[in-house]
Symmetry: C2
Subunit: 189 residues, 2 copies
């Protein structure tokens, strides 16, 4: 290294996240990012060919980190503890789910699409990791076997995105969702 860098990759990703969450995909500009890092736009183009590649790499990073956290699920034994861990992990990373619609907006250039592929495969990889959890649950007779795994996982993951319009306290909010996912909204007869 001939000269010290003015910003680290994690500085950068942190800023990218901040800007994306605040301004959304199309509100994100290289200038905004450069200002925040106190460098010139040109400097950023030294490391990333273009805006979309930058955002894609950020997304991959963010997803991989999340998947790493999820892997911890295997350190819990028994179905209920695993389920609780899963819910906690998901609800502690609410921002990630705000990033998903943003990720879908990325306009991928014809060339350099390796990262695009990677990004598209990550959600599937995640599903695979959790497949175990679900099938264990079914085998143990805890989960209904006639409901497809993907519906269950889909419901679980989608639940973070529910807007809490009326500001229900976080603990009650999560408990309610867990309750519905587990035993439904209906009073059991």
């Amino acid at each position: 290294m001939a000269r010290e860098r003015k910003f680290s990759t994690s500085d950068l990703f942190q800023s990218v996240k901040h800007i994306l969450l605040q301004h959304g995909y199309d509100g994100f500009t290289i200038s905004l990012l450069a200002d925040r890092l106190e460098v010139s736009r040109g400097a950023l183009y030294k490391y990333y060919d273009n805006k979309d590649e930058l955002i894609t790499q950020f997304m991959v990073y963010e997803m991989e980190q999340f998947i790493d956290e999820l892997k911890e699920i295997n350190s819990h034994t028994g179905f209920e503890p695993k389920f609780s861990f899963l819910m906690e992990t998901i609800f502690n990373k609410t921002e990630l789910h705000q990033l998903i619609p943003i990720a879908k907006q990325i306009k991928h250039h014809p060339d350099g699409k390796e990262n695009k592929d990677k990004l598209e495969k990550l959600p599937l990889e995640m599903y695979r990791y959790l497949q175990d959890f679900i099938s264990t649950g079914k085998k143990e007779g805890k989960l209904k076997s006639h409901i497809p795994d993907s519906v269950m996982l889909g419901m679980i993951f989608q639940s973070v995105a529910i807007p809490n319009h009326f500001g229900i306290p976080k603990a009650e909010w999560i408990a309610s969702i867990k309750d519905i996912l587990s035993d439904g909204m209906f009073v059991s007869r």
Copy 2:
């Protein structure tokens, strides 16, 4: 009217919807719309001050239409029929839920914000209409009374957005979701 219009408002909204779903918010341009309607861009500016006002008006129209459909819920008697109607209505209008993230991206100009207000209030109006349904369900002892209404409605509405990655047939897909919402994923003990 001194001269016949080349396009009706519903022509226009239909095209707007098509373009928004295909290209997303930032992919939407007045040129694209003008081309599709076979008019010049200038013509569109005769009716709408700017792009965002146009999209906002479209969104309001779309939401109001959906709310009208939902109002039909009162023509059904009994809790289960109402619930089924609600699920059907929601899952027959999947596009609308793809429009929601798009609506959030609208950049509202400082002036002319009446429509913006309207758009923000509509989801709440919708909640109000369905409040009845939920509270009736609770009173009749069908729904768990300790779970907040907004969590229930949130879960119901959010469920359309679950991506069906593995292409499960629509009927099975909806039935599974209904099942989870009603009685949960857990095997009842």
